[in-house]
């Protein structure tokens, strides 16, 4: 493989990382809101929250991407395919992250919140200072897992024409008739990226571990 082709693959890998990172971040924010809705006592929030999770977890991501890609122009919203891809990935990962976060928040021992009650913390301060930091620590391994899943699932956005790692490997395979080479390089690049994310996750967990054992 020439240097030029390798650089093209690297550029595409960069797109994969960027696409996944943005989707995970947006998905985290939406996931927080869906989580809050799902645990709400108000049925007007809880029911939509529950529906959201079951809808986006129940339909394959590939189908969601194709739907969003075709639906947006049909309702008069013209967006580049990369935006449709980010929307699809974000909405999907939000459903999973909402469930991870719900698990984290519900695992915060009640006694820790009673202690916060006893020193006079308002519910908001308890959320910011006690519940969220502990829930985040409890959720971190699942969040890293989700990041790795989304990194790999981002290969699906190649079907809506976004040039990321898989699409680039497809294009170069087709023009060079060397699919084995390009798909092997793409596979190796995914592996390295996922290792890096898993490694980063382990370091973060280790750094927070001192405080995570109750």
């Amino acid at each position: 493989m020439s240097m030029r082709l390798f650089e093209l693959m690297l550029w595409a890998a960069g797109n994969t990382i960027l696409l996944s990172a943005i989707s995970i971040l947006i998905g985290f924010v939406i996931g927080l809101m869906v989580c809050a809705a799902k645990v709400s006592a108000n049925p007007f929030l809880r029911i939509p929250g529950t529906l959201y999770v079951s809808l986006f977890r129940g339909v394959p991501l590939l189908v969601q991407l194709l739907l969003i890609y075709n639906l947006l122009p049909a309702v008069g919203i013209m967006v580049p395919s990369v935006v449709a891809a980010v929307i699809g990935l974000s909405l999907c990962t939000a459903a999973y992250q909402a469930e991870n976060l719900r698990g984290g928040f519900q695992s915060v021992p009640r006694g820790l919140l009673e202690a916060a009650d006893m020193v006079g913390m308002s519910p908001w301060k308890q959320l910011v200072r006690i519940r969220a930091p502990i829930a985040f620590r409890l959720t971190l391994p699942a969040l890293v897992n989700e990041a790795i899943l989304i990194l790999k699932a981002s290969s699906l956005v190649s079907v809506v024409g976004v040039i990321e790692l898989t699409r680039m490997a497809q294009n170069l395979s087709a023009s060079s008739f060397r699919p084995l080479l390009f798909y092997s390089v793409a596979g190796a690049m995914y592996l390295v990226i996922c290792w890096a994310v898993a490694g980063g996750g382990s370091i973060a967990e280790r750094m927070l571990r001192t405080g995570s054992r109750a």
């Binding site: 021992p109 006694g111 820790l112 009673e114 202690a115 916060a116 009650d117 006893m118 020193v119 006079g120 913390m121 308002s122 301060k125 200072r129 006690i130 930091p133 502990i134 620590r137 927070l208 001192t210 405080g211 995570s212 054992r213 109750a214």
Partner: protein, 263 residues
């Protein structure tokens, strides 16, 4: 007569169909140590948690320094729930020490002690740290401020929890079985801190199975059985002869908890 630090009047508490407290009346004098004893399921922990408003009573009233806690009587025999701000204000006079310590695991010992000083009382970080360090020194942990709870022994964690409660300068300290989660050799260090606090005039209500501690430090012993207050008096009277048969039966199960000298 001085005003009671805690005044419990005809308190009932039910969990579903199960009535756990069946009309408790109790006065905790200022500056005294009151020990709540009783078998499992007698309602002593529930009563203590009601005094902290961690459980809401089903009926009856609780006053802290003369202020109603949680509910106010409306005059027509009914009661109304007080606003959250009022509850926090009354509760700010109370400190609580839990059986499971309940230290926040993501904060150091000093962080646990100073958290409310900064976020609730609005104290400057530097000032709060100085105060926190002084409180940790008071419980013998002056050199452990930068350790996380997971790096401390159970006894040390419980002493941090006591320092956390003391930092807010409460009038009343409530202890919910503070040594029940500790290995026997670690209970002494916690009981010693509590003994010093009692000697310093702190008003304390202690749910405990440490009969020896109750007998030696308690000014007042309260014995609960099946949700009712069975006995209420000074240790000499409660533990002295003639002893109530139900208490005698209870003490006999606690021979190995320092009650040997009493039975």
């Amino acid at each position: 007569m001085t005003r009671s630090a805690v005044l419990v009047r005809d308190v009932h508490k039910s969990f579903g169909d199960v009535e756990v407290l069946k009309g408790i009346d109790l006065a905790v004098p200022q500056g005294s140590t009151t020990c709540l004893l009783g078998p499992s399921g007698s309602g002593k922990s529930t009563l203590l948690r009601c005094m902290a408003f961690l459980e809401e009573t089903t009926s009856g009233t609780i006053e802290i320094n003369g202020q109603p806690l949680g509910f106010a009587e409306t005059g027509d025999g009914r009661r109304t729930r007080l606003p959250a701000g009022d509850i926090r204000k009354v509760r700010s006079r109370i400190g609580m020490v839990f059986q499971q310590f309940n230290l926040w695991p993501h904060m150091t010992a000093l962080g646990n002690v100073t958290e409310a000083l900064v976020t609730v009382r609005g104290m400057k970080r530097k000032e709060a740290n100085a105060k926190g360090e002084a409180q940790l020194a008071r419980v013998g942990l002056g050199d452990r401020g930068h350790h996380y709870p997971s790096e401390l022994s159970g006894g040390q964690q419980q002493r941090v929890a006591i320092a956390r409660a003391l930092a807010l300068e409460p009038d009343i300290l409530l202890f919910d079985e503070p040594t029940s989660s500790l290995d026997p050799e670690l209970t002494g260090e916690v009981l010693n801190v509590m003994r010093e606090l009692a000697g310093g005039g702190m008003t304390m209500v202690v749910v405990t199975h440490e009969i020896g501690f109750a007998a030696s430090v308690g000014d007042k012993i309260v014995f609960l059985d099946q949700g009712k207050l069975l006995l209420d008096g000074p240790p000499s009277e409660i533990f002295g002869a003639p002893r109530h048969p139900r208490l005698q039966q209870f003490l006999e199960t606690y021979l190995d908890r320092g009650a040997a000298t009493l039975v």
